[in-house]
């Protein structure tokens, strides 16, 4: 776990989807704005359920939003 990182494209997707705010996305997926902020910053790995909810909110596949990156 220590040598991997979950990258995400939430920030880019938010702007490509009508520049929705973190609060709007949070309301869409049923979490707090702080959680969206933590996920965007890479400080928190969401549960699989939340990850799918975020992907559904943007109407894209899960792997478009999150990418697993193994560090060397």
């Amino acid at each position: 776990m220590g040598n991997s990182k979950l990258k995400n494209q939430i920030r880019r997707l938010r702007f490509e989807n009508g520049e929705i705010t973190q609060q709007q996305l949070a309301d869409l997926v049923g979490v707090t704005r702080q959680t969206i902020l933590a996920i965007e910053a890479g400080n928190y790995s969401p549960s699989l359920t939340l990850a799918f909810k975020i992907a559904n909110a943007f109407k894209v596949p899960l792997e478009t939003v999150f990418q697993y990156e193994k560090k060397n």
């Binding site: 776990m1 220590g2 991997s4 990182k5 979950l6 949070a26 309301d27 049923g30 979490v31 707090t32 702080q34 959680t35 933590a38 910053a41 890479g42 400080n43 928190y44 790995s45 969401p46 549960s47 939340l50």
Partner: protein
């Protein structure tokens, strides 16, 4: 600052204030009368810890989320850390007590009650600090 952080701060403030005021009351009374009778009753201030649900009510009739999976994760991790810390401190204090009074001596029965009360305070305080630290660090989860 979310509801969880407010409760943690409130708990810490009440515990710190209780310790300071009770210690001061005991010290002042002891200085004046040579013994302390009323001072320990200031511990009753800890009853304020039970009013947190009234002070920090969950908003009613709002669609806005107050607590989500990340908050649950932070609280669970804080509880897990607190339990570990409590057992270490509890076992250490038992051995220190044993070393301090020697095996052939005995302790007053009030010592057990005080250790239980002190342990409860320790758990509350450490859990609050652990919650605040995790929120402060942006919840780095070691991914």
């Amino acid at each position: 600052m979310n509801r969880m952080q407010k409760i943690a701060w409130f708990n810490l403030i009440v515990i710190t204030a209780t310790i300071i005021i009770t210690s001061a009351a005991i010290a002042i009374e002891f200085h004046i009368r040579g013994y302390s009778q009323i001072g320990p009753y200031f511990v009753a201030m800890l009853a304020m810890l039970k009013i947190t649900p009234l002070l920090f009510k969950k908003p009613q009739g709002q669609s806005k989320v107050v607590c989500d999976e990340r908050d649950d994760f932070i609280v669970q991790r804080a509880i897990s850390f607190t339990n570990t810390a409590f057992w270490l401190v509890f076992i250490l204090s038992c051995f220190l007590l044993w070393l301090a009074i020697r095996p052939e001596s005995s302790v007053p029965t009030i010592t057990l009650s005080l250790m239980a009360a002190g342990g409860a305070l320790f758990v509350k305080a450490v859990c609050s600090v652990a919650i605040l630290i995790q929120y402060g660090r942006g919840n780095k989860d070691g991914q």
